[in-house]
């Protein structure tokens, strides 16, 4: 069954992973800008990274028949240095016209600090100005609930951003309803330990429904599984979800949200 991987850091993965994704019938990969595992020392470092996301990576994906899209931002882990953050924000607009760019992301909070919040507001204002979709990262573990509350409050301060323009990612059982009740889309990240297991993701579909929800692997340079989404599809089948419902979560929902992005033009399969 065809599916969209809506969150994967493919610059950290090998070509073998592209092949595995293609064999699993992944048709589209979306790659948010991310932390490299160390802090970049200059805006030029981000500029080169954005070139990689918008120029090089789509070509690598295309060799396996996969469409590659990107989100551009300075991630919250590097938002503590406000001077650098604002230098990076200044170069983002020139990348928003690149043909594979979906919007601003993954912005958000990491440790819920004042500077992270200030840079989050700056990114949202940029999205408002350029009418972009937003992909939001919520913090890890014990910081997630507080960070999600702060993010939801912060988004309400930007009347130019409609709730349906925003996907809030890495939701878990204690945050998913808040996000959906605020009118946003919600992403469930399938991680072996630190986020959500396959079974818990399907539990959330059973308890919250499937409206405005998607799943992703968020595979990167850490412990993560690029095939987490097809494995969750198998889990749904085991629980007797219909093929229509599975397709809704892994194709129709991400397609609906992303279709509001100016550059998103999915190649529709003939069968």
């Amino acid at each position: 069954m065809r599916y969209i991987e809506p969150h994967a850091h493919m610059v950290s993965r090998t070509t073998d992973d592209y092949e595995r994704l293609a064999l699993a019938d992944c048709r589209i990969v979306c790659e948010p800008a991310f932390w490299a595992g160390f802090d970049r020392s200059s805006a030029q470092g981000f500029f080169d990274y954005f070139r990689q996301l918008t120029g090089h990576e789509p070509l690598r994906a295309a060799k396996y028949g996969i469409q590659h899209y990107a989100w551009i931002c300075l991630n919250p882990k590097e938002a503590e240095d406000l001077v650098l953050a604002r230098e990076v924000l200044a170069i983002i607009p020139e990348f928003l016209d690149q043909p594979n760019v979906l919007g601003i992301g993954e912005i958000g909070l990491n440790k819920n600090s004042r500077n992270e919040l200030a840079v989050f507001h700056d990114h949202v204002a940029l999205a408002e100005k350029h009418q972009q979709l937003i992909l939001v990262h919520t913090p890890h573990l014990e910081d997630k609930l507080k960070g999600t509350r702060i993010i939801l409050d912060a988004l309400r301060e930007h009347p130019g951003i409609k709730p349906e323009q925003v996907l809030i990612d890495h939701v878990e059982e204690h945050t998913v309803r808040r996000v959906l009740d605020a009118g946003h889309w919600a992403g469930i990240t399938l991680y072996p330990q630190s986020k959500c297991s396959l079974a818990r993701a399907v539990d959330m579909f059973e308890t919250c429904g499937m409206e405005r929800l998607w799943m992703n692997s968020a595979c990167d340079w850490g412990v993560s599984d690029p095939l987490a989404v097809p494995k969750a599809m198998r889990e749904m089948r085991m629980r007797h979800f219909s093929e229509t419902d599975i397709q809704r979560v892994v194709w129709e929902n991400p397609r609906r949200f992303l279709s509001a992005a100016r550059h998103f033009i999915p190649v529709e399969p003939t069968s």
């Binding site: 882990k77 819920n112 573990l141 014990e142 910081d143 609930l145 059982e173 499937m210 979800f241 419902d245």
Partner: protein, 99 residues
Amino acid sequence: MHSQEIFMNKLTVSDHYFMEARSKLLDLAAWIDRMQRANGAADHRWHGFSDCLPILTDDQPEKTRRILEQLSDPTAEPIDQAGEKGASGAWPGNPSRGN
């Protein structure tokens, strides 16, 4: 907010997940044994973990959500500065634990 039909009965859920849950239960017990054998003082992670255990055996629903909330930072204001990038999995500032 429930909108999805639940397709499995309790026996089916046990058929699919009991052995996995049994294995995780034993790993949990073994970790507690290991912690109790270890020397020195435990930190906030052990206390946070211990505070969650009663949730497993009470008769209330939504145990996953409540455990996640129990382990979460309950404060509302942003912190002054992000000193580190990582998270430990349990909020270290629980005043009732004196740490």
